[in-house]
Structure formats: structure tokens, C-alpha cells
């Protein structure tokens, strides 16, 4: 049914085919003028499939023609033909994400040369939905000529796909095995203003690549006006900035209001403001920004109560109101509710209803909600910040930046002129808020990134051309971890083990434990645990059924550790034939479990590629012990020791006092535990925790637990006691160790 890509003749010569004229006849790659491209788009034959265009295509084309980007096609082609690197600025609604890659295809003609055009997106959902839209616009099925590629899901057809939307992380992973990205004729980095970690690294890579590959074209697209930074960065010659292609957005003016005085309670003030708008302002939906799930749910409840009161008191002048929460941990069906229309008036002639969306900052960039006319901005968000000194990931409420505030205000002007109510004074806006949000590279753990960079041959991580360089201590921590995991040798060179680790789209600790797990006869189980750790939280805990949910969780809990509990959950899920009802009855997210299933099979393929056996021990009683030992091999740098009378845990080496996360299922407080994460929210917590034995630490991570380098303290004394006992213990044990070490050497070789 599908055409064989190997037999289909190259389009340029297929014009001799007769009846249908080759639409691209006479086109020379990268010398295409806008009028020619327009002629083909307006034609009757799809130049990429040679099929007649569908009526649907014509309809969509009319809509596309109204996009600001479309009207500037001539300018774009002139600039694109002349320059290797372009910085493009187009506000939301300009159509840049959907149109520019298509324009590039009409000029590059990648399908005639076996090349691809890549367009990166910071988010998986965006990559998927934009690819779908563009496939429709080009009148081709999704996954053939136009496709997408995200972690654990590849929706492309090698040889056919020539326009690929992908997450920035995926392009980075591709660069690992093809540092010249030779498959691509043009690379478009979209949403560069969001400054995600992967986009930042890609900018450094493609800048260097542009010097090596003169045939490669690069477009950096940003939604904000501070493009000068990118222009300067991508100026290939010193002091000559990269050219700028600017397209105005299709936005309406937004009037900004400030408070006269600072607000004593921003949540309360926000609720008050929403109700004030509801009572006094013209119809139009409201978007309120708050910081987290609890705050949002609470505000929704209060707004609803007050609004109902208003409606009862004064049904003639106040319309009905719906309040919809929006945050990332919300199930997708509920996230969809933000697109519901505002409620209808109670009587045909009554006051129209109003929709209020109360959201975290995901509505700031990621999601566009049409119909929003009013924005209420208290000026806060929760931000992830990694600190290398104590190796903690913090998630704390902090003031937003000016850039963020502007972005939020802009959300009010999507459909018509809007208003933005800032719950702080104008003076505080000027003096208290920072200019820009810190790019992700300054806020992240870099272990993963460093391994990827080393794999793709970047040797000098110190002098890498960062747009904004991270703190040196963050790099130091990353190198330290990779060295202890034996992914890098002492000179910073990639080891064979490290090369395999880099192939797994996982944190290095996880990759390591997966690779060594066959030695512990539990690679089947470790694979499951890794898959479960790679998907969103599987536990559901609806607000009105917390007790029932906790009871259900208790039934599945393995008291020795949360990792084992995750394994248990997956196994039960598999035993129950992936039954949706079983998951529902046990308060588990069917979606997350299905995703885990998919991730598991993807990772299994990677394991097969490197001959990593899938085995399970026959000795049931030892299974959990083996698993916990394998966990130690990956996570020995994330160990906490119980000290003091209050059952406090101290992280080894960093001596941070931490508590077990409330979700932890351990039934006791073991002396030694490993943890998957150390997070700082309301308090310092370790999350996903499993009990381990100190002997294992000394045995499987002797380098890290080198007693001569450990700081003096209770942890060291405890380990010394264990070490002494081991030395005095039976010979047979040490023989076992030697055997295992020998085996390890074999697998490495």
C-alpha cells in the first residue's frame, strides 16, 4: 500500500512521467523565491506526494495566508538564501512554529537529497501536536513525510520523513552518535527564549558545527524581543551579529494595572481581584497564576463559593462562573477542561458566564488558552534549582522575573484587547523583580548532559562556548559522579562502560545499575524499576478519597523499600493483564503504568543492542536482596545514615539532615538507606527510599566509601565497625567478592 521509498524515482526526474507535471520543476535548492514557493502551494498537486491536494488543504491554506509569518514570505526567503544563521523573533500567534519549517522545506527540498529538516521544541506535547498540525497543513499523513520524535516514542519513517519535529533533548541524543548531525540540511531551534538545558547546549553545538559544515543552515526562533543576545552569540565573525528576521505577533494591546500598596496575602488578594473582575468587568475569561497544586485547588474552591454567593445575591447583573484548575500533575482529561467554553447565561438575555483558569506557570508559555481577556498576576512561581554543594533539588516559591511578568500579561491579549492586574506596585515591579528568569542550565544537575557531551566528543567542558556558563561546582559534581560510576576515567576520558551508559536515555546512576544488574541475576526486575522511575507518579490520591487511596497503596507496599514497591505494583499490573479497572480500583494511574510498559520495552531493546541479558534469579528468597544490591551499584552516592535520637537521617559526605518523604512506605527506620532524590520543598526530604546494608556499601562502592577520606563522625565510625567485622569474618566472603570482581572485569572487557 505504502510506496516503497527505494523505488520511487527522485522527484526532479519524475516530471518525465507524463500526465502530472512535477511541481518543483526548475527549483534549485536554496535559490527558491517566495513567488515560486507560493505558486506550488497554490497549485493542485502536492509536490511531496504527487497526489492532488485535498479540499481540506485548500481550506487550511486560506487560514495560513492570514498568519503574519506567511505575509512576510518574500523577506524570509531573501534572508534564508543569503545567510547561514538567522535569528528570528515572532511573538505568539505569528505562526512561526508551523510555517517557517515548511518554508524551509520548499527551499531546501530535503526529500530530493535524502536530508531532513529538524525543528526542536522544549516540550513533548508541543512536538507532537505541532507535527500533527503541520502534517495536516502539508496534506500528508503524520509519521510519513512529517513526523515527530520524542523520548521513548519515534513517529517517523526513515527515508520518507523529511520534516521532523522533535524535543531538543532528542536532537542532543542524536548528536551523540552523529556529532556533525549530517542527516540534517537545516536545524531550527524553536522557543529558544525558554532557555531549556538541551536548547542551550544545542546552541553551543550548532554554533561550532556551523563552522565545520558550511552547508548547514540554522534558524534560532524566539518569542521575546531580547533577541540581541542570540544575535551576538551567533555572530560568526566578531562584532557582526547574526541577521534578525522579525515578525510582529498577532496580539492586542494589554492594559496593565498595579496595586497601590503591597499585598499582605497574595492568594487572598488574587481571589478578591478575580471576584472584582467578575462583578465589574466586561465578559471575557480570566487567567490567574498561582504557584502549586494545593494553593490552586484551595483558591478554586474559594472563588467558586464567593461567586455562587454573588450570583444568588444579584442574579441580574452577575453571570455564572466556572473555575478550572491547571497544573502539570493533573490527568490529561482534566487538563482538557481549560478549553471548555465559558458557561452560558442563566437566562437567554442574562449576563454571560465567565471561565476562570487558575494555573501554575505552565499557562505562561506551554499552553495557550483562547478567550482569556484578564490576567491576574501575583508575581510568584515555583522554580526548580539544583545546588551542587549539598546536591539538593529545591522547589521553592520565589518572585518571577520581569520577562515572566510580561509573558503573563501578554496572555490577556490573544483574542482582543485585555487587562492585566499585577498584585504588586509598579515601583516593586521595577526594583524587586529580576530582568530575566535564570536559564535552566544554571539551575540543573548536569551529570546527564556532561555524559552526553563527552560522548559526542566535547573534551573541553571548561571552555565550551556556553550561552550562559553554569557554576563550575556543578560541573565538578557531574564529573565526580561519572568518575565514581566508572563512566569517565581519571583523565576525563569516556570508558567503554560510559559509552554504553550514554546510550540509555536515563540518568547515569540508573543506566549503571541496569548494566550491572545481570551480575545480580535481577536485570528483569531492575529494568522494571528503572521504567517505573522514568514515568510520572503512578499513585493517585484524589482529594476526597485520600484514606481509601492510602489504604490501597498500603496493600501494594513492600516494607523494605519503595523501589521494591514500584516493582510490585508493575508486576501486579502485568498479572492483571494491564486491566484499566484494576488500576482504577487500586488508585493507580493507568496512563503512567501504560507509559512504564512502553518505556520498559524501549529500554529492553537498548539492552539487547548491547547484549545485556534479561535474567531473574531462581532463588525467590534472595531476589529482593539481589535487587537492593544492584541498586547500591548505581545509587551509592545517594545514601543516608540514621543518627541521633530523633531518627534523623544524615546524607553521607554532605551531612544534610533530611526526613523520609511522607509518601515513603518503609515500615521502620533502617540505619542505612539509599534514595532516588533529595528534594527541598517545605522541608528537606529524601524520596523513593530503600533500606540497604552497610556491608554492601563497602563491597560495591569501595572507592566512594574509602574510610580514609570520609570525614570524621558517626557515619564513619559505623562503617569502620562494619569494616572491622568484615575483615575478621570468614574468608569465604572475601572470596565471593573476588569472584564477583573478576566477573565484572570480564563483562567490561
Amino acid at each position: 500500500m505504502a510506496k516503497n521509498p527505494y523505488t520511487s524515482a527522485p522527484p526532479l526526474s519524475s516530471s518525465s512521467n507524463g500526465s502530472i507535471k512535477e511541481p518543483f520543476f526548475g527549483f534549485i535548492p536554496r535559490k527558491v523565491a517566495a513567488k515560486d514557493a507560493r505558486r506550488v502551494m497554490d497549485g493542485d498537486v502536492n509536490p511531496f506526494t504527487k497526489q492532488p491536494f485535498s479540499p481540506q488543504y485548500k481550506k487550511i491554506l486560506e487560514v495560513r495566508k492570514k498568519l503574519p509569518v506567511y505575509t512576510r514570505m518574500d523577506e524570509f526567503y531573501t534572508m534564508f538564501n543569503e545567510h547561514q544563521i538567522i535569528v528570528m523573533v515572532g511573538e505568539t500567534g505569528s505562526g512561526k512554529t508551523t510555517q517557517i519549517p515548511q518554508f524551509v522545506c520548499y527551499s531546501d527540498l530535503p526529500h530530493t537529497r535524502g536530508k531532513l529538516v529538524a525543528c526542536t521544541q522544549p516540550r513533548r506535547v508541543a512536538a507532537m501536536s505541532v507535527a500533527k498540525r503541520v502534517a495536516d497543513e502539508m496534506d500528508v499523513p503524520l509519521g510519513r513525510q512529517v513526523g515527530y520524535s520524542i523520548r521513548f516514542e519515534d513517529m517517523t519513517e526513515p527515508g520518507t520523513t523529511f520534516l521532523k519535529y522533535m524535543t531538543d533533548g532528542m536532537l542532543l541524543r542524536e548528536a551523540m552518535n552523529d556529532p556533525d548531525l549530517s542527516r540534517y540540511s537545516t536545524i531550527i531551534l524553536d522557543e529558544a527564549h525558554e532557555r531549556t538545558l538541551a536548547t542551550d547546549i544545542l546552541m553551543g553545538l550548532v554554533k561550532a558545527l556551523a563552522r565545520r559544515r558550511l552547508d548547514l543552515k540554522i534558524i534560532v526562533m524566539s518569542a521575546t524581543l531580547d533577541a540581541l543576545k542570540f544575535q551576538k552569540y551567533f555572530g560568526l565573525k566578531k562584532d557582526v551579529p547574526a541577521p534578525l528576521f522579525k515578525v510582529p505577533g498577532r496580539t492586542h494591546p494589554v492594559e496593565v494595572f498595579y496595586t497601590q500598596e503591597p499585598e499582605p496575602d497574595y492568594v487572598e488578594a488574587a481571589i478578591r481581584t478575580v471576584l472584582m473582575i467578575h462583578r465589574a468587568e466586561e465578559p471575557g475569561d480570566i487567567l490567574l497564576f498561582l504557584t502549586g497544586e494545593e494553593e490552586i485547588e484551595d483558591a478554586c474552591r474559594k472563588i467558586k463559593l464567593e461567586a455562587d454567593d454573588l450570583l444568588n445575591q444579584d442574579p441580574d447583573s452577575v453571570g455564572p462562573l466556572v473555575c478550572i484548575p491547571l497544573y502539570s500533575s493533573l490527568p490529561p482529561q482534566q487538563q482538557q477542561r481549560i478549553f471548555d467554553p465559558a458557561p452560558a447565561p442563566r437566562t437567554p438575555e442574562g449576563t454571560p458566564g465567565r471561565k476562570v483558569v487558575v494555573s501554575t506557570n505552565i499557562a505562561e508559555t506551554s499552553l495557550t488558552i483562547d478567550g482569556i481577556v484578564y490576567v491576574v498576576d501575583p508575581g510568584f512561581s515555583k522554580q526548580k534549582v539544583y545546588n551542587p554543594r549539598i546536591r539538593v533539588e529545591s522547589l521553592l516559591v520565589s518572585p518571577i522575573s520581569k520577562a515572566s511578568a510580561q509573558q503573563r500579561a501578554g496572555r490577556a491579549g490573544r483574542t482582543r484587547p485585555g487587562k492585566c492586574f499585577r498584585l504588586y506596585t509598579e515601583k516593586d515591579f521595577m526594583t524587586e523583580l529580576e530582568e530575566q528568569t535564570h536559564p535552566e542550565i544554571l539551575r540543573s544537575n548536569l551529570a546527564n548532559t556532561v555524559l552526553e557531551l563527552v560522548k559526542l566528543g566535547i573534551k573541553d567542558l571548561v571552555r565550551f562556548d556556553y550561552v550562559d556558563a553554569p557554576a563550575p561546582e556543578t560541573l565538578m559534581r557531574a564529573l565526580e559522579l561519572l568518575n565514581y560510576l566508572a563512566a569517565l576515567d581519571d583523565d576525563g576520558n569516556l570508558t567503554p562502560l560510559g559509552a554504553i551508559m550514554a546510550e540509555f536515555p536515563l540518568d547515569p546512576q540508573m543506566a549503571k545499575m541496569l548494566i550491572v544488574s545481570p551480575e545480580f541475576k535481577c536485570s528483569n526486575e531492575i529494568l522494571t524499576i528503572v521504567a517505573m522511575l522514568s514515568v510520572p507518579n503512578v499513585w493517585l490520591r484524589p482529594a476526597n478519597m485520600r484514606k481509601e487511596a492510602d489504604a490501597a497503596k498500603q496493600m501494594l507496599t513492600v516494607p523494605d523499600g519503595d523501589h521494591l514497591t514500584l516493582l510490585n505494583v508493575y508486576n501486579h499490573y502485568a498479572q492483571n493483564m494491564h486491566d484499566r479497572n484494576w488500576a482504577w480500583n487500586n488508585f493507580l494511574s493507568q496512563r503512567a503504568l501504560a507509559q512504564a510498559d512502553n518505556v520498559r520495552s524501549q529500554l529492553q531493546r537498548t539492552m539487547e543492542r548491547f547484549d545485556i541479558d534479561l535474567v531473574s534469579t531462581q532463588d525467590e528468597r534472595k531476589l529482593y536482596t539481589y535487587i537492593r544490591q544492584a541498586l547500591v551499584c548505581g545509587y551509592f552516592m545517594q545514601v543516608a545514615h540514621k543518627e541521633g535520637e530523633k531518627n534523623a537521617y544524615l546524607t553521607v559526605k554532605d551531612n544534610q539532615v533530611v526526613a523520609l518523604h511522607p509518601s515513603c512506605g518503609l515500615d521502620s527506620t533502617p540505619d542505612w538507606v539509599i534514595f532516588n532524590e533529595f528534594v527541598l520543598t517545605t522541608r528537606p526530604y529524601i524520596r523513593t527510599v530503600t533500606a540497604v546494608k552497610p556491608e554492601w556499601l563497602l563491597e560495591y562502592a569501595a572507592n566512594y566509601f574509602d574510610l580514609s577520606t570520609l570525614p570524621n563522625g558517626e557515619t564513619k565510625r559505623a562503617l569502620q565497625t562494619v569494616a572491622k567485622k568484615r575483615a575478621g569474618g570468614s574468608r569465604s566472603q572475601s572470596n565471593e567478592v573476588d569472584e564477583r570482581k573478576a566477573k565484572k572485569r570480564k563483562t567490561k572487557a
Partner: protein, 350 residues
């Protein structure tokens, strides 16, 4: 230390007054210290501050000097790539060098605004030259509570409007209780009632020592005689005033009669110019003693339950005098209080 001191004192014959006074002071200090049990939260905070203070380069250096003498491997790798501690990462023509990263100021600010020290952050965090590369990790900063932007720095002393808003919220929260909560609430209210007396007396003592003549938080509806002269009449809430009068200890016939008359008393007609004049005087007089804000605040305060009133009084003591009611200790300052008191709630002191 203390035992040794007393032993020395007793051996040297009879004690002078000043010696005995010093001893008593020491004893008090010791008791004070015993009250200060470190809470879990406190330990967490201290360890975090300690951990964040030192850069990894410093730590590596110390370990090298103290331990095996071998250099930190990760740092060695970076040095091989051309890095020197104190520099930023990035292309060599953009690298900024700072004299010493280890001298970097606090990289962690809890409960305070990170932005309250923007210059410092700028100087430490971003390299001094036009470079945008970072020399030290981003600080971890926490925004305390739900205060809006612009109020971060003023956390220490809430204004009257803030307190009013808070009281309004407390009153509102009480209305949303369900049946079960209400039963528990009643028990807690009775308990709080008992604790409120001593707390308010402490408040009066500390306030008077501080030179304050009046504070809304001193008011106790069960003790109308404790109200300053004429204050009750100034409250324009008859229901509240009546309920307070009912609490008057003076339940003699005379007293009740007086109260009755007061309530029923006819207001003078304000038809003549004189009267208007005199009333004006009265009003301005009242205003000078009790501001409108005081009246408003007092009305709100007295309408609250004992538990909420107790919360407000204790909060005030903590913020203004660094005094913890549960510890029974007046700390030197806010920092001392924060470091040494286990927490603001009674449970923290179990």
C-alpha cells in the same frame, strides 16, 4: 563550668551581694539554655547553612590537606581542561576571574528576600566583568508565607492593616468549621482561654517596659475593668459592648443599673449650635486617645475566639520582643529566637 564557679565562690568565704546576683544570673542563663532544645527543623536548617557555606573547591582543598593528600579527581580533570578555582566556565576570552570564590557571601538566604541583597548576589554570583557566566551556584531562597511582592523585607513588623486582614481571615475560617471540628474547637478554646491570661500579662509587662501605653492585644473581654477609661464606649458595636458588660465582675444592683442607664441614656439633641460644637470637641478628644484604627482593631480582636486571640498575642511577643511564651524565654533577637526556639507552636515544645 557553673558548678566549678560556685565551688570556687563558696571556698572564698561569705558571698557579697554582687556575687550572689551574678550567680543568680548564671543560673537563669543556664535554665534559659535548657529550654532551648534544638528542634528537628533547626537541625535541618543548620546543616543546610553549613553545607551551603563552603564551596566544593574549599572542601576539596581541606580534604586534600587533612586526608590522604590525593587531589580531588573531578577538580583535577577540570584543571586539566584549563580551569582554575575562582574562574567561571566559558570560552577563554569571556572568562572572568574573581580573587577568591571561597569568600563569597551567604549563598543561602532563608525567610529573607534574595533580592534584598541584589548587589551582593550580583557581585558574587555573576562574574565582575561583562561576562554572564556564573562563578558560584544560584542561592536557594525561600519566600516566607504568602506575603505579596514588596513586603518581603517588612516581614518583621506587620502593619495594622496586615493584622486587620489576618483577623478577618481568622474570623472567616471559624465560620467554615464542620460539626466535628467545632467540638474539638470548643475544647481548645477553653484551654486557650486559660493560657491567654498569663500571655496577656506578659504582653502588658513587656509593652510597659518598652514604654507603650496602650495595645489592643491587652484587652480581655472577661475583664472589662482592664479596659482603659472610656474605651468601651468608643467601640461602636453595641452587641459586643453589651456582652462585655455582662462579664463585669461588678454585678451589684447598682452596677447593673448604671450599665442599664448608660445603654438607655438619651443622646442629647444636636439642634443647637452649642451642642454641635461640644460634640465635635468630644469626638476630637476621643480621637486623640484612641485612633480609628485602634477601635477597629479592638472590635475585630474582641470578636475573635480565645484561641485566635492567643495566637495573635503570642505572635506579637515573638516578633516584637523575640519572646517565646512556650519556652518562657526572651531571646536576644530574632536570629537568636529562630536558632534556638524549637518553633512557634505549643507542639514544637513537647
Amino acid at each position: 563550668m557553673f558548678l566549678f564557679a560556685t565551688a570556687a565562690a563558696t571556698s572564698s568565704g561569705p558571698k557579697t551581694y554582687s556575687e550572689r546576683r551574678k550567680e543568680a544570673e548564671k543560673l537563669a542563663a543556664l535554665r534559659n539554655a535548657q529550654h532551648r532544645k534544638k528542634s528537628r527543623r533547626q537541625l535541618e536548617l543548620e546543616s543546610r547553612e553549613e553545607g551551603l557555606r563552603k564551596s566544593l573547591f574549599e572542601r576539596a582543598k581541606e580534604e586534600e590537606e587533612a586526608g590522604s593528600g590525593q587531589q580531588n579527581k573531578a577538580l583535577a580533570m577540570m584543571m586539566k581542561m584549563g580551569f582554575k578555582p575562582g574562574q567561571t566556565l566559558g570560552p577563554s576570552d569571556e572568562v572572568a576571574t574573581k580573587p577568591d570564590t571561597s569568600a563569597a557571601g551567604p549563598s543561602y538566604v532563608l525567610g529573607k528576600r534574595r533580592l534584598s541583597e541584589p548587589q551582593e548576589d550580583e557581585a558574587n554570583g555573576m562574574a565582575t566583568i561583562a561576562s554572564r557566566h556564573r562563578a558560584v551556584p544560584l542561592p536557594l531562597s525561600e519566600w516566607a508565607g504568602k506575603k505579596g511582592i514588596g513586603l518581603g523585607k517588612r516581614a518583621a513588623s506587620p502593619s495594622a492593616t496586615e493584622r486587620l486582614a489576618k483577623m478577618a481571615k481568622m474570623a472567616e475560617d471559624r465560620d467554615h468549621l464542620d460539626f466535628r471540628d467545632r467540638a474539638r474547637q470548643e475544647y481548645e478554646e477553653r484551654r486557650a482561654e486559660g493560657q491567654l491570661g498569663p500571655a496577656q500579662r506578659t504582653c502588658v509587662t513587656l509593652d510597659e517596659k518598652d514604654g507603650r501605653e496602650f495595645n489592643v492585644l491587652w484587652l480581655n473581654p472577661n475583664n472589662p475593668d482592664g479596659f482603659p477609661e472610656g474605651f468601651l464606649d468608643a467601640l461602636n458595636d453595641p452587641v459586643l459592648v453589651a456582652s462585655i458588660h455582662r462579664n463585669r465582675v461588678d454585678t451589684s444592683l447598682e452596677g447593673r443599673l448604671r450599665a442599664r442607664m448608660q445603654a438607655d441614656a438619651l443622646q442629647p439633641l444636636t439642634s443647637t449650635l452649642d451642642d454641635v460644637e461640644s460634640r465635635k470637641d468630644k469626638v476630637t478628644l476621643a480621637k486623640t486617645t484612641y485612633s480609628e484604627e485602634d477601635i477597629k482593631e479592638a472590635t475585630q480582636f474582641l470578636r475573635l475566639g480565645p484561641k485566635d486571640r492567643l495566637t495573635l498575642v503570642l505572635e506579637y511577643l515573638r516578633r516584637r520582643y523575640a519572646y517565646c511564651f512556650w519556652c518562657g524565654t526572651e531571646y536576644n533577637d530574632q536570629e537568636d529566637l529562630e536558632n534556638n526556639c524549637p518553633g512557634p507552636d505549643e507542639e514544637d515544645h513537647d
